[in-house]
Symmetry: C2
Subunit: 225 residues, 2 copies
């Protein structure tokens, strides 16, 4: 149980909450953990949903899929993330997003009642929740912008810049296949391939499989806005 508490305390929902405060909270609510195996569906799109999840272990993806099987992978959740915060307080029924475990996954579901109890026990939890929800609004608005205005090449440049800002190296490797990357961009794999060819002729970046090399950082910055 201690390990569980430790995982929980790292969650964004419990940011700035001490372990003691968390113990106190856990006395009031009964948590159970759920486990999922890779590719298992945690919550299907358009399924009635009234729980928020805290990811203890593993990676979860949030995808949209249309009737033709086209996939758009909108989000990716890692350990400590809060998943589907809008499920709890919305007046609408459901999200158009399916949550799928990408790896072996453990998470804790919380009901509206449990979250409200936590709010009343500790104000900081509420602020953390509000922040998460607000961040999600902005995240989605930015996704929408990208989806509306960016070409595949634009998306690649933005993606590479974002990775650079994490790794701080001119050369790195990503842990996605081209197929996964194409889902992330919401485009077909051959189209992504074609754009990569064009981009590799540009002299700004160079890619080879999962390897990415930044050749001209100034121009990359400009291309990625």
């Amino acid at each position: 149980m201690n390990k569980l508490m430790l995982s929980l305390s790292r969650s964004k929902l419990f940011k700035d909450i001490t372990l003691e405060e968390l113990e106190l909270i856990s006395d009031h609510i009964n948590v159970k953990t759920l486990q999922y195996t890779p590719e298992e569906v945690i919550q299907a799109q358009d399924e009635m949903a009234d729980k928020v999840y805290i990811l203890l272990e593993g990676v979860v993806k949030g995808v949209m899929e249309d009737i033709n099987g086209h996939i758009y992978q909108v989000e990716m959740f890692n350990e400590a993330d809060i998943i589907a915060p809008a499920n709890l307080f919305s007046s609408r029924e459901n999200l158009p997003i399916t949550l799928i475990a990408k790896t072996e996954t453990r998470l804790i579901p919380f009901t509206r009642g449990q979250i409200l109890t936590m709010f009343s026990l500790n104000r900081k939890i509420e602020e953390n929740f509000l922040r998460t929800l607000s961040d999600k609004v902005i995240f989605l608005a930015e996704k929408l912008w990208e989806n509306q205005f960016s070409s595949i090449e634009d998306k690649i440049y933005k993606f590479v810049l974002a990775k650079y800002l994490i790794y701080r190296k001119n050369e790195f490797e990503i842990n996605l296949t081209h197929e996964e990357l194409s889902h992330r961009f919401g485009v077909s794999r051959p189209s992504l391939s074609r754009s990569l060819i064009k981009i590799n002729q540009s002299g700004i970046i160079n890619t080879k499989g999962k390897k990415i090399k930044i050749l001209d950082f100034e121009q990359l910055l400009q291309k990625a806005e």
Copy 2:
């Protein structure tokens, strides 16, 4: 001042709040109203923003615009709506949306501090705020879906069905020019025009300028999913 209170009480932020409760709240916070004229910018995209607005009077549109002047009108706010709720509690700086007054507009800005004061004065306000934020997440997720997977024709069918569900008539008029409608769909006007021609040959709906007639409701339902 009474008229102001009455407008406020209709706002979604004060849903289920009595006028007396509202008077009490207003004693604690100092509200000022802002006025805007048509096409005036209330808040520019990528501008630091830390206020939420309650729309007292008028219509406000939320638009995205790229460097080439392409316009995507994402949202439309009417009297009593809460505008830009994610401004307050997000850890990120700004929204990629510009708020523009569409008509003569009056609104009240609230700071984070003011909203927090209200939360502590009345729990229902907090719930209303949470609901608004959550609804916005779902709204944006649905927009993203539409943007990713719907053709112009799909969008038209969905739009017509949505209007039908409001008017409950097989024949009605919209208050948008084709140009505005094309912005709403995030497409060019000639492309919208072309799609309207195709749609008018389909026998499902018929449009002429701002007039829309539903000819085959069953098929409309199916097309709009």
